[in-house]
Subunit: 274 residues, 2 copies
DNA sequence: ACAAAAGTGTTTGGGATACACCCATGC
DNA sequence: GCATGGGTGTATCCCAAACACTTTTGT
């Protein structure tokens, strides 16, 4: 079966950058390519658009097929249309990004050829995915200032320092603990989390974030270092990378109150911030 | 001649939202469709992607062909991929937006079926262009906080109140004159403009902005009102719409100092603004 | 002359920043 | 018991916001 057009048509594909946060480092989910071109290289999950689905639906479908992840929210990064970005034929890719709570995802890890990489240790990627990755990082850093994207990376509840570490990992800067907490609470979009069942909550908490698991999981690819990441993280203080133990203590837990956020959003719609 | 593929390919097109500012209102440039579908309706300039050009090159080319505008900078809005957004065939459109100094554009006005519309008076548009327009307004309002997009809408030099009216038109809010000036000057990206030749400067200034020209130009379409615009501008104070004369007085003129901006940008790269 | 816009400073309040000690927990 | 992280309050500073009168220009 073949499809004929009066004018040449490019192929249209989607690619998705999936960010995760393991309590210490920000990571992205990559798959290893099994076919040409770029066999053996790592790339973002994605695939070709079907004629009866939107780009976002396509990205969601490919994500489910390739990584087992069922994602609700995807944010569009934009279209990438360099003429020779795919050596096979002309392919325009619409890229998305999303943030997931790692605990929901660990199941997909043992899928062959799909793995999380800390953003500081991303290998060279297939196609123009290095470029897409840089754009995704920029976008994430922009968005986190205005949208509660960060909370999607954490579990249903989280401690203030988990949240702070997340912000520090994304933005690459350090905040004063007390000032950070004050500012976050002042927004009014966080509420204290009454642990519904302490054992259960702590159980899932540990299962997705203890250092032992993280270490064994990230295992052997600490030597993979690329230049583009040095550009991105050149100004990042080492502090966020040096403290090995950052989880497991008790503390007040919070949750993201969506109703309060929606009200907050309406109030702060238009303000001047050159 | 025809083109055959093993899998169905959507067509890929671009559309461009062109913002202009006439000293009082924010406008967009629309073209009237001469062919099916949506014959007679207004739409954004755009067209189909060629196989040897990027999406941005395509948008630039179509802009030149359809409106005579030679634009350097286009910002991508994103891809629009609703399955039935074009009744002819599956078309994915990559939308851009740009801001132009109206004085450079007035020449293109008399082209039949291309006209500027104040953003408050945009008619119903073809395809999903109403939606694209809303996205463009949102994006512009976001971007103006962080990027010096506004200056592209003004001439080489401008007065502080012209700049203020532009910000007020885009954001739909009112600023205190003195605070606005202080804040703008504090950024350090504006410099005083030494008029190179007073007569020449004032000449081109008047030629693109006097009220007489604006009035005759916008002439007869003040009755065109759409709901989606009411949504966007529901909270806009009437003040920006009621004062008829807002130009022509002398005053200190400024210009946008790109070198200073670049330095400013590097310094303020990462800051916390939830 | 009159109307509209340009030019100009100060005060005040709130939010951001900087900063240090004690306590609880886990090892 | 030791190390790590959790919990907590205050003083300062800077920026944003509010605010009015005089001068200049255009008609």
């Amino acid at each position: 079966m073949s499809y004929t057009y009066d004018y040449p048509h490019p192929a249209v594909a989607t690619d998705t950058v999936i960010f995760g946060f393991n309590g210490k480092t920000l990571e992205i989910l990559l798959i290893e390519r099994g076919i040409e071109p770029f066999t053996g290289m790592w790339a973002f999950p994605g695939g070709f658009l079907k004629m009866d689905e939107t780009a976002e639906e396509c990205a969601r479908r490919e994500l489910l097929e390739e990584t087992g992840l069922a994602i609700q929210t995807l944010k569009q990064l934009g279209a990438f249309s360099a003429v020779h970005r795919d050596p096979r034929e002309r392919v325009v890719s619409i890229a998305f990004y999303t943030l997931v709570n790692p605990s929901e995802v660990r199941g997909g890890d043992d899928a062959v050829n799909a793995r999380w990489f800390p953003v500081e240790e991303v290998p060279q990627l297939a196609f123009d995915h290095d470029y897409i990755f840089r754009k995704a990082m920029q976008q994430l850093r922009k968005d986190i200032h205005f949208e509660p994207v960060g909370f999607e990376l954490l579990g249903e509840s989280f401690t203030m320092s988990e949240l702070q570490r997340l912000y520090e990992a994304i933005l690459g800067i350090h905040f004063d603990r007390r000032n950070f907490e004050k500012k976050m609470l002042q927004t009014g979009i966080l509420d204290l989390y009454d642990e519904p069942d302490l054992a259960e909550e702590m159980g899932s908490y540990h299962s997705c974030s203890s250092m032992e698991e993280s270490k064994s999981f990230f295992g052997t690819h600490h030597e993979m270092k690329t230049k583009n990441i040095d550009e991105l993280f050149g100004t990042m203080p080492n502090s966020t990378l040096e403290t090995p133990k950052q989880r497991g203590r008790k503390g007040r837990r919070f949750f993201f109150n969506k109703e309060k956020y929606n009200r907050f959003k309406q109030d702060n719609n238009s303000r001047l911030e050159f």
